[in-house]
Symmetry: C2
Subunit: 324 residues, 2 copies
């Protein structure tokens, strides 16, 4: 296998993570970062180019890894960029995946490029495990728990409250629900029974903390359906103790293969850095995307369409000898 030459589109946490991932995969090489900002203002380890200059790299980059957001970036970018390049992205708006897939697929088929969408851990590794568990245990029940980890969306929601300087929200699985899920008793859980929300909030000097707490715990959708705890701390403590972006979670399926014979399948991740891990998954699937393209495949793909032999740096012979 030759090297896979990668372009990074967008340079936030994911883009930086891609550079780190490439350092640990000797067959991956970052050709450049493409940004909408002024390239001179972006401090990256790789050369930085203007988004518009991307077209000059046709033939020099095997896979563009799209590191933008799912809300506005990817729905616009992917079907443009895959006119010229194979792409991998981490589109994570679960409900919109079929529509997104259809658009990316049409564009990729027209250009003869390969695009792997929704790569990461959920969607991604968690999806793989849900499908595997359901295929081998068709009679059963599965559960996905998230956390303990920082939810960016919930942290942002707190920050928008008047009198809040900064905040960090952790999603935490409820231990009793985890235990029940593993037992195979097949219970259904409400949102409140499965996860709790733990918030660390920095309030402005003199702000009404009672009001802030009430606004948080009663916020519809975000906090009201959960048991939520609010702890006010100083900005220094927030920076010192809550500066990371940890996350993780569990996919559990229990099922019977015959009357009373219970089989349990469990997959879990415990991540010090959510974006660095997502970038590592993107890196492995960038390798797979390059190989798909080399096989002459085009169109949109998801992790469910890609055999693991394509994401590994090892050859099929090495995999059978060392890993099977």
């Amino acid at each position: 296998m030759g090297k896979t030459r990668i372009g990074i589109v967008g340079y936030g946490n994911l883009g930086r993570g891609l550079e780190l991932a490439a350092e640990r995969n000797s067959d991956l090489e970052v050709v450049g970062v493409f940004t909408r900002r002024d390239p001179a203002a972006v401090k990256a380890k790789s050369p930085v180019y203007k988004m518009d200059d991307m077209k000059d790299f046709a033939g020099l980059i095997d896979v563009m890894v799209l590191c933008g957001g799912s809300a506005t970036d990817l729905p616009k970018q992917t079907s443009e960029i895959n006119k010229l390049f194979n792409t991998v992205d981490s589109y994570d708006n679960h409900g919109e995946i079929p529509a997104y897939f259809a658009g990316v697929d049409a564009s990729a088929k027209a250009s003869g490029k390969a695009s792997i969408i929704s790569v990461g851990w959920d969607p991604g590794l968690f999806s793989l495990n849900r499908v595997l568990a359901n295929a081998v245990l068709p009679s059963g029940k599965d559960y996905t728990f998230w956390g303990e980890g920082v939810s960016q969306g919930h942290s942002d929601a707190i920050r928008r409250i008047d009198g809040v300087v900064d905040a960090r929200q952790y999603t935490v699985p409820v231990e009793e629900a985890l235990t029940s899920a593993r037992s195979g008793e097949g219970r259904e859980f409400t949102a409140r029974e499965k996860h709790k929300r733990v918030c660390f909030v920095v309030a402005k000097e003199g702000a009404d903390k009672v009001r802030i707490e009430k606004e948080i715990v009663t916020m519809p959708n975000y906090f009201e359906p959960y048991d939520t705890t609010v702890t006010f701390i100083s900005l220094e403590e927030l920076k010192e103790k809550h500066g990371g972006i940890p996350h993780g979670g569990f996919v559990i399926r229990t099922g019977e293969t015959s009357e009373g014979v219970v089989q349990r399948f469990e997959f879990s991740l415990k991540l010090d850095s959510n974006p660095e891990f997502t970038s590592s998954v993107l890196a492995a699937y960038a390798r797979a995307c390059h190989r798909l393209a080399q096989e002459g495949k085009s169109g949109a793909f998801t992790v469910l369409d890609i055999p693991f032999s394509l994401i590994s740096a090892k050859s099929p012979e090495e995999l059978r000898k060392e890993m099977l």
Copy 2:
């Protein structure tokens, strides 16, 4: 998708498990069981035929699921049977997989059939997770733990000791090693540090239990490298409390994505019945084998070559909508 018509070759625990699995997968249908024994003597849920009559079923069976053993059955059978049929097997002699693959591949390519080898949980689901974890965390260390579960080979070894009526040996992961593996500290373990062996033994009336225990714990390879406990019990207690064939285990990989940023990947199974679960995995890959054949693919494959979309009864559209 039409139904996948399955033949079961060999009717032991795995063959019985396949019948159970087919009951829970509405798209799988068992056409018959093929045995070397007198068919009249085999009580199966499906019609039972002589092994030699298999050739009459060409065109009536999509996939033969080979439920024989890895020591003598599969090395002889697979490359014969795949002259006429697509096959799936659970060949589990890790060290011999490359040679086995080569033989099965040559025969399958010659006949234009598809053969998926080494399907089950180890090799199988554990292999998949080892490859996935290594691909996304190239800098790291992985561990496989087995148990708590019954080792048939170790139980048999005890039964061969003079004065032993029956025995059951459980392989048990050592909790401290599991904790260390999860911590990311990257320790190496000896066999003794990773697993212990727990034996329940029924001795003949008047047999020398001290000698039996000593013969067990000093047995090279099987028990000597481990901390082994021996408990003598009655035949009634053995049958009552140790009649099942539970198993399971853990695949753990911890790795860094940047200096000091530790990411943990863990997969585990807890199985009430080892053979029934293995059969359930074989059933899912029988479906995949049928689809490979329908796509015109031939040759030998392993689980690492098969995308999960092929093992699921759901369509790619359903998978993207419901599972991704």
